[in-house]
Symmetry: C2
Subunit: 484 residues, 2 copies
């Protein structure tokens, strides 16, 4: 890198203050200069570190550990719904794997949680165009009973249309909510269109609907419906709630547009089977300096029952574990790195919440999570104290050779570290994965090993190895300012 | 096109004879010269015809009739398995549609056929890695009974491996046949890998297997198994026979490769429900000269029960019908064009065979079929009498603006015209469609409207319109030489 003369003023003022008075164009110039400046400020030891990081990245880009974990979990366990015997088998598998990889303090921390399980699920148009539709029940759906439920559909092109329906207008009917979810790299369309699933059933129930079917919250065109939890308010009796595959939802819209009333028969017979045991699997790479707060890195071990949970979230467990292993192989870090393979994420963050309560007394400094598939990391975001800005800059620079840019939003962490972040006011780093094809597969039978691109998976491992190595060996104070 | 001097010798010798003594390189030169020659030989009226053909193609490239037919059949009927009430509804739909489009002599010609229908279908690995697998029964599969069948798997990477298994070595076991089918433009990989389905179950039954599961004969990676008929020899009792989705078959191979015995539980409860009514729907565009043999153009109306039969074969019916309609709109042709929307193709060519018997006394000249999806025509092939070579050349030239090349194999026609071709020794023209993604969808739940590319569908219509217009208005003698 060429030497660059840095105007003194730019070196003396913190970035946050300058940001308030410079234009976007100025910002771009400053960013360029700062990249040069960062290189100039590196000490001899930091330059040596950069060399080490490059070597670690090279090694991580040849990683097979992450793929082996995904392959093992999907082949030897497969679907592992929270609270079931399959999730328990997965915990045993995880404990054995983490021990075999050389991690310390490997343990299973159990808790109880109410458990809902799928039953029969079929949907058929009775009239005017009889044919079967591919459907799956949403988590927490009520049951139609084995005899099923036949009723006329009321069509809502969007969730807003359902919300605008007069109270009582749905009495005895089946609400059908469609939408136009499209793929987005940052996954933001799930936030925009997911609510049809998250809250649509509760709204329909409150308006008197006998049942609800939604267009799956997904972006593919296969006959594989997308399941996922829905939630009913206290006092609202859960109604049968199912997701149609996208081709089926489109077919239903075409039928409705022909103008005749459409009658649907639904058979959904899920059950609540009471409190069952679930648990978190925890393992550690102990640091040399216990006074420095630990880094907790999370994925979730449970999956939905339809697929084998390859992208959601065996890949996350593979990524964080492989990265920690590469750091382990490079020599003991200063900070402890704790792996949390959380249980029961899909059905209500039971594992993450249990961890956040049980472990809030532990000395945490930073939380990170991988739970957005196996495609490449494209952006890094930070939520660190102002004083740790040089650390963030160093990380962002070190990630650039992996094709990773820097985002301007504050990092927020994944679902399983929300409780510990909230309880302990933790610093966070997000390695954002490319979500363009994530919602083709999310919560469907199609979430299987063959969807994993080993090269992109390795890039994830390299990015995580980079961050864990730099933060794990940094004694920067990561204490966040008190929340306002 | 520039004028080209043609060496006299090349004009005087029939192509078939020259082919025997020229190299491939020479052939390419000759082909170029012949293309120029053909243009020179066109009469003034042929040039006017060329202008008409271009106008017809322009119109056909804006076609909506074919898409409307696919949209209508998939939305208003959906799956229409042969011998079922859904196929009967489809015939009524077809009769109404063909009448509405202005075709003549629209009728339903019924026949009876033995009918097999699907029941429950599940597969679960019992040990060592318990999980469910996505399976579907093959047509003519035996039943496990409702209680199911649990047995150890015997793995055969290819059909040849199954064939090599010693007699008796499969007693009481479930055979599992895998393969490595890949996509091919001409669909030839189905011929190479399809036999695992066509004959694998019969072979396994004869070797004493209790059941068989195969990797679906397909090229996708979705959890949608590919059904399709299998056949058992007279005297061989059908065993339960299922196809696993490709991700499931791959998962099973990974389990097997870990070295422990793999036990599978199968529940497949299909039934034979005896003789049921099926039928062909026939319609005509009457020609002005009944002495000229008619052109019979076929598709099939029945579909497998898992999908809505968009690419197999609503699109074929849409293509041939739209093309005949464009020819109708351009003025009465010399030859009658007869549309055959055949019944019961998937389950044993019952419709095509019934047509071939019932209609062999009719004055046919040429047969064509569209039954390979909705993607573009890329190649034309002929089986015409030598005397009709100028007609073939003219057709091949007229198809070039649509991006269609000329193949060197003799045309053979589709499944539904096999009987009439054989019985009446008919001339054939094949408009070969691009099959690269056909076996991603073939016989799966994923065969739905959204897979149709309207632009490619229109190119098909334009190609068919071109051929029907040229042959329909040609009085060339299409009588084939007697078979040797």
């Amino acid at each position: 890198m060429a030497h660059v003369a840095i105007p003194p003023v730019r070196r003396k003022r913190p970035l946050a203050k300058r940001k308030r008075r410079v234009s976007q164009q100025d910002m771009r110039k400053i960013t360029k200069l700062l990249a040069g400046a960062t290189a100039l400020f590196l000490s001899t030891s930091a330059l040596a570190d950069n060399h080490d990081i490059a070597a670690l990245q090279t090694k991580a880009l040849q990683d097979d550990i992450a793929y082996d974990i995904v392959e093992g979990l999907t082949t030897e366990i497969g679907p592992r719904q929270a609270g079931t015997e399959a999730e328990a088998r997965a915990r045993n598998w995880a404990v054995a794997k983490l021990k075999a990889l050389g991690f310390s303090n490997v343990r299973n921390e159990a808790y109880l949680m109410p458990t809902w399980v799928r039953g029969a699920e079929t949907a058929s148009v009775i009239s005017p165009y009889p044919q079967k539709l591919a459907i799956t029940a949403l988590g927490n759906s009520g049951s139609t009973g084995a005899q099923g439920l036949t009723a006329e559909l009321v069509y809502f092109p969007t969730l807003a249309d359902l919300m605008a329906a007069p109270d009582g207008s749905l009495d005895g009917k089946i609400a059908f909510v469609s939408h136009e979810m499209k793929a987005t790299q940052d996954g933001s369309s799930y936030g925009a269109f997911g609510p049809a699933r998250f809250v649509g059933p509760n709204i329909a129930a409150k308006k008197g609907a006998a049942a609800i079917v939604i267009r799956s919250a997904g972006t593919d065109h296969h006959r594989n419906p997308h399941t996922g939890n829905t939630n009913f308010e206290e006092g609202v009796t859960p109604i049968p709630a199912g997701a149609l595959s996208i081709p089926d939802a489109e077919n239903l819209v075409r039928m409705i547009e022909r103008g005749k009333p459409v009658e649907l028969k639904l058979v959904l017979t899920p059950q609540n089977i009471g409190e069952q045991e679930s648990g978190n699997v925890i393992a550690e790479l102990p640091g040399s300096d216990p006074s420095l707060g630990m880094i907790v890195i999370a994925c979730h071990l449970d999956s939905w029952d339809l697929g084998t949970g390859a992208i959601d979230d065996a890949s996350g467990c593979g990524i964080i574990t492989a990265a920690a292993k590469h750091v382990m192989a490079a020599g003991q870090p200063k900070r402890t790195i704790r792996l949390l393979w959380a249980g029961a994420e899909e059905v209500g963050l039971w594992g993450g919440n249990a961890y956040g309560e049980a472990r809030k007394g532990d000395n945490h400094a930073l939380a990170m999570e991988s739970d957005f598939g196996a495609d490449r990391v494209w952006r890094v975001e930070f939520n660190l104290p102002e004083s740790a800005k040089p650390l963030a800059d160093r990380i962002a620079n070190a990630l650039q050779p992996l094709g990773i840019g820097r985002g301007q939003q504050p990092a927020t962490g994944g679902a399983d570290v929300q409780a510990i972040i909230r309880n302990n006011n933790l610093a966070v780093i997000d390695l954002q994965q490319d979500g363009t094809r994530y919602f083709d597969l999310h919560h469907t039978p199609d979430d299987t090993l063959d969807k994993i691109d080993p090269e992109q998976l390795r890039q994830n491992v390299a990015a995580w190895t980079t961050v864990l190595s730099i933060v794990g060996n940094s004694d920067a104070d990561l204490t966040m300012p008190p929340k306002e």
